[in-house]
Amino acid sequence: MRDWDELVRRQLLDLGLETDERNEVISEIAAHLEENYEELRRQGMTEEEAARHTLSQVEDWQKLSRLIQVARKKENGMTNRVRQFWLPSLLTFFLSMGLLMLIQLFGPKPWSVVIKNGWSLIANAAMIYLPWLFSLPLIGAMGAYLSNRAGGSKRAMFSSTVFPVVPYLALFLLALPVTAVVDARLGPHIMLLALFVNILAWVVAPAAALLTGGVLVQHLLSRRLEPGRIAGS
């Protein structure tokens, strides 16, 4: 005798509804699966065939969980957006900025990137805080997890994961035309080079670190919810 209720409960772990409402959804879906399974058994399928066929109705449990959550939420789209994108984004932003400040105050000296233009100019182009970079995957993972828990799509998850680098990116993009003009007047083109080094150090590298955490969480959540992993239960 298959425990459909337990199976659905495990698949819909991330269903962010109140306990009573959640139990109600789980019972209803379990009843549907059970009825489908029994119908297939009556038609002559073996237990394994019927179970496989029944479970094939849901290709992506994570997506089903998200769709149910969105459908049952009484709040409007704006509230969902806040829960799925803005809250995780602001959390990753303030955590990463707070941690950077702490590392700047109490952490080891940063790694300086020096650029040269022939023999004439040497500039300290960027400071790289390695402990900060190494901590970013954890912060990215937290953002992705919170977004996913609120029923956020993959797009919302990854957007909130990389949100902390957006202000830097905006700043550097704004500085780009000014730097290009100044550089063109001064001649040695060292400022433009420094700007690109800074984009690498403050945008590309942190974004990659944050995304590492986000992708890992996404991968773990999707693995946990793969139908095949529990089909035999």
């Binding site: 009843a31 489908n36 459908a71």
Partner: protein, 110 residues
């Protein structure tokens, strides 16, 4: 076979129409639609429940737990007065759309 986009639009009409005959639980509702449309409209669990919950939020249908003769508890959906009210203009909209499509020569011969 009917495409996904058209199916999405007709799904709510199908659910409301079938529930007009009386309350049904999700599995039976899906089966009834599949039978009556000769398999042209087929709902998987993943498509059915988000739609039912959405329609419930809009108060077109109401779900309530009931115990069947064999002792099983099932959540049965019934049409609400708001759902009945919605059904008529929805039918009208689809009917007008089909008539408009039929007037197009190329579609009529398709």
């Amino acid at each position: 076979m009917i495409g996904a986009g058209i199916k999405r639009g007709t799904a709510e009409l199908a659910v409301l129409s079938v529930l007009e005959d009386g309350p049904l639980h999700g599995y039976e509702l899906a089966r009834r639609i599949e039978q009556q449309t000769k398999g042209a409209l087929r709902f998987t669990l993943a498509a059915l429940y988000p739609m039912l919950y959405r329609m419930e939020q809009r108060r077109w249908i109401r779900g309530a737990w009931e115990t069947s003769d064999n002792g099983r508890r099932r959540r049965c959906y019934r049409l609400t007065p708001a759902g009945k009210k919605k059904l008529s203009p929805l039918r009208q909209e689809w009917s007008e759309l089909f008539q408009a499509l039929r007037r197009l020569k190329k579609v009529a011969h398709a």
